[in-house]
C-alpha cells in the first residue's frame, strides 16, 4: 500500500453534509472487476452534464480552472455514508486524491480509506473555517499535511491546525502497512482461539456439506 507521510496539494471543497458513496461514484460507473481506472467516474452525476457522459459541468468544483488537479477534498459531516462500496475510495485515489478532510465520516468509508492509503482527517467545521480564512473560495489554494506530527498548514496564510488520528491508523498509513500480513502473523493465536471457541460453541461450526 502507498505510504502517506506528507502531502501538499490543491483543495476542493464540497462542504455539504451526508455526501454518500453513491454520489462519490454512482453504481453505473463501477464497470470493471478492478480497483483501477475508476477516477473517471468520481462524482460523475455532479461532474458531467449527462448521465454516463463526459462533458464537464463548468459549475462543479473539480471542473473549475486550477481545481482539476485537486488532491485534497474537504467535505461536510458524515462524508462517505451509505454504501460500503470501496470503489468510492478507489475512485478518489485514482483521481489523485490523497486526503479527505471532514467533521465526520461514514464508518465503512473511513476504514476503506485507511486500507488504501488515503488519509481521512476529522476536523471540526470551525477548524476548517479557520484554515480557509482569508482565502478566496473561487481561487485554488493548497494545504500542506504532515501525518507524522498530525498538522495541516495553509502556506498562504500561515494558519496551522492539528488533528487527531488513532496511533495504529497513523502508523499503518505512515509505513504503508498491509493489515492482512500483520494479522496473518498472529495465525497461531487465532488458531488457539478458534479451538477454544468451538469447544464452547460446537453448534457454531459451519456445515461442511451442502444440505
Amino acid at each position: 500500500m502507498q505510504a502517506f507521510t506528507q502531502h501538499t496539494g490543491v483543495v476542493a471543497a464540497l462542504r455539504q453534509i451526508n455526501i454518500d458513496t453513491d454520489a462519490i461514484i454512482p453504481s453505473r460507473e463501477m464497470k470493471r472487476v478492478s480497483k483501477e481506472g475508476l477516477g473517471e467516474g468520481l462524482f460523475a452525476a455532479w461532474r458531467y452534464t449527462l448521465p454516463g457522459g463526459r462533458e464537464p459541468r463548468p459549475d462543479f468544483v473539480l471542473n473549475k480552472p486550477g481545481f482539476e488537479s485537486s488532491s485534497i477534498i474537504i467535505g461536510g459531516s458524515n462524508f462517505g455514508c451509505g454504501s460500503s462500496r470501496e470503489h468510492a475510495v478507489w475512485a478518489l485515489k485514482d483521481f489523485g486524491i490523497r486526503a479527505v478532510i471532514a467533521p465526520s465520516f461514514g464508518q465503512i468509508f473511513y476504514t476503506n480509506c485507511i486500507n488504501n492509503g488515503v488519509l481521512p482527517i476529522r476536523l471540526s467545521d470551525e477548524t476548517i473555517d479557520a484554515l480557509l480564512k482569508d482565502c478566496d473560495p473561487s481561487q485554488p489554494i493548497s494545504l500542506s499535511i504532515d501525518l507524522a506530527d498530525c498538522s495541516i498548514k495553509n502556506p498562504s496564510t500561515g494558519t496551522v491546525a492539528g488533528f487527531d488520528i488513532d496511533p495504529a491508523e497513523q502508523e499503518t498509513l505512515l509505513l504503508g502497512q498491509d493489515k492482512i500480513s500483520q494479522t496473518l502473523a498472529r495465525a497461531a493465536e487465532i488458531a488457539t482461539f478458534r479451538e477454544r471457541y468451538y469447544q464452547a460453541h460446537q453448534w457454531a461450526k459451519a456445515s461442511e456439506a451442502a444440505p
Binding site: 455539504q16 453534509i17 472487476v33 458524515n78 451509505g82 465503512i108 495504529a168 471457541y197 456445515s207 444440505p211
Partner: protein, 483 residues
C-alpha cells in the same frame, strides 16, 4: 458486572486486544456478492493468499444480475457479465458455496443468509455490503465492510475492529394498524439524524420490537446503517428459534432431535442484555401515535409522516438550509407542501429491506381486487427464489400481476439501478427500498422510500398516500407489529 447483549457478543468473539482501542474479532460467517465480492476474491487470489476456511464463506449473485424472466448472464449494464463470470470463477477456485443464478437458493445476500440458516444468533457475520446489519434482526452480530476488509476476513477469519459504544432504543406503546417496522426506522432516522447512530452498536428493544415478527425485525435492522450505526440488532427469542427451525445450514439442520440444534437453542436463550446493563446512550420512542412514513428528500433523514407537510425552510445560510435546498431542487418539491397527493410515475417492491414473504403478503392482501393507477409502472422483485416460490404457492404473484405489477426474478434490481435497471430518467418512484440518494435508482430519479403497504397504496392511487386503515386486515399485516 451486568452486560449488554453487544458486550457479550463482543467478548465471545474477542481474539485479542491490539491496542487500547482496537481488537481482533473472530468472524463466523462471510457472505459475498458479485459486485464487491468478485474483487475481494480476485484480489486475494492475485496476492497469493487463500481463503482460510472455505466452509465459512458463501456467495450469491444479486447486485448486477438481471431480474427479467428468462434471464441469463447478460445484464442491461454494459460489462455486467464480467462481474458474474469473475465471481463464478473465483468462487469455484476458492471452494466456497456459491448460490449461482440458476441455483434454487439464489437471492439477495441478506435474504438468503437468513432463510438458509447461514446467519445465526450469536454469530459474527460480515459481507462487503452495508446492509449486512439486516441480519441483526435474528440476533446476529452482523455488519457491512469494504472489499479489502472482506479479503482480511477471508484470509485470517478475523477483522480488526474498534469497539463501538452501545445504544439501546426502546420502542414503547403499540403500533397502529398499517404501521410497520419500516415506518419505525424511518421515524427514528428522521428524529435523530442520518448520523445519529454513528459509532454505536444499537440494540432495538421494547414491547413494539418484541411484537414484531422476525422478518419485520430484519427490515428494521436493515436500515441501522442509514442511521450510521456500526450495526443494529434484536435479542433472539422464541420467534427467532421458531424461524430457524429446519433451515438447511442451521445447527443440526434445525432438527429438534439434533444435539447441535438443542445446544444452539439453549445458547440463544441466554443471548440478551442483563437487566441492569448500562448503555452509553438510550433513546425512548412512543409508537402509539406513529403513522406511516415517507421520505421527501435525498437522504433517509429527510422523512415525514405521509400526513405531514415538508419542513419549512431552515434559516438562510445554515448547513441545514444548504442541504435542504439541494434536496428540494433535486426532488422537485417545495418546502411546506403536503407530501400526500404527490404524483408518482412508478412503484417498486423489493430489496433487502422489504422483499420477504411477509412483505409480499401484506402487499397482496392490499392489492387483492385492486389495480394500479393508469400510467404507473409497478415492479415487484422477490428477495430470493425461496421467497418467490413460497409467494407463488400462495397465489401472491397472480394477485400482483392482476393488479398491474410486473413479477420478476430475485435480485437487488431497482434498489440501486442494479445491472442498469431503472424506471427511466427523472421518474418519481415510491419504493420499499432503503436509500433515496440522488441518482440511486437511476439518473435524476426521484425516490420516495416507504413501507411496502404505502408503496402499494400509492401505486393504486397514482400519488403518495397511506393505505386506508379500514382496508388493512391486522391479522395478515405481518410486516407491521400487529401480530
Amino acid at each position: 458486572m451486568p452486560e449488554s447483549l453487544f458486550d457479550k457478543l463482543w467478548k465471545r468473539h474477542h481474539v485479542c486486544a491490539l491496542d487500547e482501542r482496537r481488537s481482533l474479532i473472530y468472524i463466523d460467517r462471510i457472505f459475498l456478492h458479485e459486485r464487491t465480492g468478485s474483487i475481494a476474491l480476485k484480489s486475494l487470489q492475485a496476492d497469493g493468499r487463500r481463503v482460510a476456511n472455505p466452509s465459512q464463506v458463501f456467495c450469491t449473485m444479486d447486485h448486477i444480475v438481471d431480474t427479467f424472466p428468462g434471464r441469463g448472464d447478460a445484464t442491461l449494464m454494459p460489462s455486467g457479465e464480467q462481474f458474474i463470470s469473475a465471481t463464478r470463477e473465483a468462487a469455484t477456485a476458492a471452494g466456497i458455496q456459491l448460490f449461482d443464478i440458476d441455483d434454487p437458493r439464489q437471492g439477495i445476500a441478506h435474504v438468503v443468509a437468513a432463510e438458509e440458516g447461514i446467519a445465526l444468533p450469536g454469530l459474527s457475520h460480515v459481507c462487503p455490503d452495508s446492509h449486512t446489519c439486516t441480519l441483526g434482526g435474528l440476533g446476529v452480530l452482523a455488519w457491512g465492510i469494504g472489499s479489502t476488509e472482506a479479503e482480511h476476513a477471508m484470509a485470517t477469519q478475523t477483522l480488526v475492529v474498534e469497539k463501538p459504544k452501545t445504544m439501546r432504543i426502546h420502542f414503547g406503546g403499540k403500533l397502529q394498524p398499517g404501521v410497520s417496522a419500516k415506518d419505525l426506522i424511518l421515524y427514528l432516522i428522521a428524529q435523530h439524524g442520518a448520523a445519529g447512530g454513528s459509532g454505536y452498536a444499537v440494540e432495538f428493544a421494547g414491547p413494539v420490537i418484541e411484537a414484531l415478527d422476525v422478518e419485520a425485525r430484519m427490515s428494521l435492522c436493515n436500515m441501522a446503517v442509514e442511521f450510521s450505526a456500526f450495526t443494529g440488532f434484536v435479542a433472539p427469542d422464541a420467534k427467532t428459534i421458531d424461524y430457524l427451525k429446519g433451515r438447511p445450514y442451521a445447527p443440526g439442520k434445525g432438527q429438534a432431535s439434533h444435539p447441535d440444534w438443542q445446544a444452539a437453542c439453549a445458547d440463544w436463550q441466554q443471548l440478551r442484555s442483563d437487566v441492569d446493563a448500562v448503555f452509553d446512550r438510550e433513546i425512548h420512542i412512543d409508537c402509539s401515535t406513529l403513522g406511516p412514513q415517507v421520505s421527501w428528500g435525498t437522504n433517509p433523514q429527510q422523512s415525514i409522516a405521509v400526513s405531514e407537510k415538508l419542513p419549512a425552510l431552515a434559516a438562510a445560510g445554515s448547513d441545514a438550509r444548504s442541504s435542504q435546498d439541494k434536496a428540494l431542487s433535486y426532488i422537485q418539491l417545495e418546502a411546506g407542501q403536503a407530501i400526500a397527493g404527490t404524483h408518482i410515475d412508478a412503484a417498486f417492491i423489493g430489496s433487502c429491506t422489504n422483499s420477504r414473504l411477509s412483505d409480499l403478503r401484506t402487499v397482496a392482501e392490499y392489492l387483492k381486487g385492486k389495480h394500479i393507477a393508469e400510467g404507473i409502472a409497478a415492479v415487484c422483485v422477490p428477495g430470493s427464489k425461496h421467497v418467490k416460490r413460497a409467494a407463488e404457492a400462495e397465489g401472491i404473484d397472480k394477485i400482483l400481476i392482476a393488479a398491474g405489477f410486473e413479477w420478476r426474478e430475485p435480485g437487488c434490481s431497482m434498489c440501486f439501478f442494479a445491472g442498469g435497471e431503472t424506471f427511466g430518467e427523472g421518474k418519481r418512484v415510491i419504493s420499499s427500498t432503503n436509500r433515496n440518494f440522488e441518482g440511486r435508482q437511476g439518473p435524476k430519479v426521484k425516490t420516495h422510500i416507504a413501507s411496502p403497504l404505502t408503496v402499494a397504496a400509492s401505486a393504486v392511487a397514482g400519488h403518495i398516500c397511506a393505505a386506508e386503515t379500514s382496508a388493512i386486515d391486522t391479522q395478515t399485516s405481518t410486516a407491521g407489529a400487529a401480530g
